[in-house]
Symmetry: D2
Subunit: 340 residues, 4 copies
């Protein structure tokens, strides 16, 4: 079989680098173009030292026509905002796009504009598919454009969906207390991610004011989302501790049954045994989501862990790409966690 | 003035060592006895290397009569359970006691027994004062026995009390999503605190099943407490993210006014400016509690940070001791955080 | 082609778990038996949570005959000392052995005894091959027994060998200042690896008194080894900073030429460009060794980084096993670092 | 007694903040002016959140006349280069200066220029005293200007001085393999101190090319210094592992005697018992230096640990200031480590 020809646009950031790590070991995929902006022309090993001496294409400036000549798919690791034009050019040139940025996670241009400002190519929003295979598997197979779910939203949406679909909830509200490692902030240094301002400390940020809240709400059919993200002194991993109010008479056994049924055939979501707590360290570097369930009276606490750069970004992108390309969904994603 | 003569019983653990750090710089306190169990007889600098070459009494076995001969007060850093007999012997010998363990945090023997099993000296519970000066300042001045508030309870009770006292709440329930550094687990090694099983990872534990939940509930007049503690890869610090339901019509300004009024004269509690998030790193090694307030619709999120070994244990013990001894409450507790 | 049937004996420790991670993605290898001691009978996912829901054999007690019936090779992740009997039984049963412990790193029983005490099967030492493919590639192809090089020794021996072979050195002495992550201490908790005694701190240990020093010396033809290991607050990685005295007239260019020549065809050793410093984070989870070279007057400083669990243990074991099995040496070892 | 009136110029960086932490608890010192550049005018608690609600002067722009009107001493926490003009203005206005930057660590303008470029006020170098009380106690008492020793130099000079003074060394060369926490890099964010590029990793930098090497050499009478600094994923602490060649016949007992004699009356330097390794965690937040000694044949390994921000900067500055002001040298410096 011809290998899938894939370009990575925005290869020098963390999500791009993570995609390279996964894609290199993918048996049916060939990385044909690596594009970067300010880092174009530099040796890849200077920008991404783990790839010293590894055979990969050089870092070049993005050119949609050039990408189209050499790739069937493009995976975008660009900053939010920068992916809009690139996507438009790539689609026009016949390249199917998997966007890891936030630029194509909403279908409604007005909704997008309220959160991120006006979209420069609103027509593309009409055809984007929200890139969370556990929700949109079938639509992803045929789309030209997937807007990968955000890292926090992936963890929260997977935590809530079974309860919502099984009609277990008494109120249409979720409290999501989420905790993330620092790589989620990206590769650009800043005061808030300076090592001495981050190590040996913990704080919340943007309480009730983070742009992932409306994304979660949209993916959950308009549920009210009370979202408090926290920054944890570790590189990778998200733990979302999610609180939901159960309808009268719903107990832990009923909840467990609903979650186990919903995820019985999902290749990357694992409902842990009763009383077992998920730990970010157990999924680090894998595309897995571990999920734990706890009930006290009418309060349900769901805990999910993912690697924010894998299932929360590059692994999810590869999962979407596999679907779009007609490959088995798990191809190249069978890694288990780097432990410890 | 005669210095206060103080013994530390259980000096070799983290809370004991933290008390030594603070007490050495206290201008009106003299450490006259340091007691340990298995470590008695060893050089202090072998057990607690930071004190190499520092002039302190040797580690001796606990003997209540000996302590009584040399100390007016004893501060107990013993494991839970082990403080019951020591306290009884010390009180009988005329020594006033500040207990940092969980052995004297309840007044009702039945309630204590339900959580920790039967108390060996239930009569002492009748006279213990819950050692949280922000709640019980006056009673602490005269008691013979203070049972210092736990680390998690301190952070949650300080977060909830003003809302409760000002009658801002619509429901008698609190969701407390708390995160602690690893020193809270004590100094005895175990699988769950082995460095490679803790660094670069995050998990909750004992969800809805932790013994601090009833302690918090008792201190908050019976409020239902939904408590999820998490272990964070850092040494010190607790951040409690607390969710409360506001009565209709209560907005952020009303909430802020109530909290600022309640804590206006508290020496160790700081209500941060609007939109500012507290960070454990900003109170590390200090006896301070920083507190932030956030509201979305009818949901109030209060965030508090403390150092679990200082305001959560040894600093609080010294604060209680100051009160019991008739000293200014802040004596020897004016440290600011070790930053960064 | 028939897959290689491989048993892992001692699967529940860190080196065993790391071997499982790598072996699962190896295209020509089938894990047929997983053996453990105290953990036998427990669900694998309880012992090694990253493998929850992953299809692997159950943890059973070690039985040499059973292993021989189902495996051609056994990889041993047992504690030092425990591998001697297991190896003897496996060899007798016709199973070829790759031992990750220290039990088969010396050929001379007397030398072994001086360091570790008497060997229970000294005859096996006569046929063991020191498992460092960069030194012993050809002998590994045919041996029944490989004693994988230790983690520190791997990093130091790779740093020194080219200088030694090219006769660049003025003295037969090496100062090796090595720094290791905490996973090198194994999975058994202890005071020295308790998180609060390890995080935010750094110290040397066993200065001039570590059992890896004679191993390094043996691998380097009797060079005097001055070895100071340090414990660094991170999970994985070894950085060895090695100081060597150059013969008169040898400059950096000559040194670089010798190292580049020596490692030109080594698949896992990379000599970095001039003035570039290797970083443990750039090889984490990979089987790579990055190497940097620095000269001041007659002093050569070589810096090597490896992942102590991969190139320092399980990756090296797989590399040895590939050679012993006649497979391409790099099969299943093409991972790049988990970054960041 | 009148309190010492002290200004801090450059109060918003880590060394300035650390000086504030210590000075607030100093019984004979009054902080009268806090100066900053870009942060002047901002609330102190916004710039340095640990000081929220703490009574301290506001952050104002530096004005030498204003400082002179309110302070007898100025402690400078400015970036390298920026302290030259400020010092000149302050001295001219009659204020005695303790400079924590590298601007006044050399007496010879030519030597300074070779390392840092031309000094703008070379005459001041003639009267500066190198701020390491263990070397220059008497001269510090009377100087108008102290140029505090750097963090790495403090750790290395304390490690070598006794051996040098006691004539124990066979060669005039020291190999100093030093390891530092990240706060040593200052508070300005950059790629090299971005959390995800620093945590879970270790590397050397500027091998044989760091500006502290000539400073160490100068303080050690011209000894050749082979200096390799490393960046360790922790906030505070320096461990220097120093290798020296002993003269024939010098054994560990002789070495220990020389070190113990040299430091017998030093208040902040502790020679640890035989075979005990110093640990940065045991001096964190204190002004102490712990020192360990190890010998193999003719090689001496000295290990020193300090807190880079305390004994390596602000604590040392306060120690110098105490001497210059005629106060007991240890005043306000009696802290023990924050442990754990």
């Amino acid at each position: 079989m011809e290998p899938l020809r894939v370009a990575v646009v925005g290869a020098s950031g963390y999500t791009g680098a993570e995609f390279l790590r996964l894609a290199r070991l993918h048996p049916a995929l060939s990385l044909t173009r690596l594009c970067a902006e300010s880092k174009a022309g530099l040796p890849l090993s200077e920008v991404l030292p783990p790839f010293h001496g590894i055979d990969l294409p050089p870092l070049v400036r993005f050119d949609a026509a050039d990408v189209a000549a050499h790739a069937d798919f493009a995976v975008l690791g660009l900053p939010h905002g920068a992916a809009q034009d690139a996507t438009a050019e790539l689609l026009a040139a016949g390249v199917r796009v998997v966007d890891m940025s936030a630029d194509h996670r909403f279908s409604d241009p007005d909704e997008f504009a309220r959160i991120y400002g006006p979209h420069r190519h609103p027509a593309n929003l009409a055809e984007t598919v929200y890139g969370l295979p556990e929700l949109n598997r079938e639509r992803l197979r045929t789309t030209r454009l997937a807007g990968c779910a955000g890292c926090y939203p992936t963890s929260v949406v997977l935590a809530v969906t079974p309860a919502l679909e099984a009609d277990l909830l008494a109120t249409r509200e979720v409290i999501a207390d989420s905790k993330s490692g620092v790589s989620g902030a990206g590769r650009t240094p800043g005061a808030g991610t300076h090592f001495p301002e981050t190590a040996e400390g913990l704080h919340a940020y943007k309480t009730f004011d983070h742009r992932h809240a409306p994304e979660i709400s949209r993916a959950l059919g308009g549920l009210k989302v009370r979202f408090t993200p926290h920054l944890v002194p570790m590189n990778r991993g998200i733990l979302s501790t999610v609180y939901l109010r159960l309808r009268s008479g719903i107990d832990l056994a009923t909840v467990r049954a609903a979650y186990e049924r919903r995820y019985a055939h999902e290749p990357f979501v694992r409902v842990l045994p009763a009383a077992v707590h998920p730990d970010t360290r157990h999924v680090r570097g894998s595309n897995l989501c571990h999920l734990g369930l706890f009930v006290e009276d009418d309060l349900l606490c769901v805990q999910t862990v993912i690697d924010n750069l894998t299932k929360g970004a590059a692994g999810q992108a590869l999962q979407c790409l596999n679907l779009m390309a007609g490959l088995p969904e798990t191809t190249g994603l069978d890694h288990t966690a780097l432990f410890p």
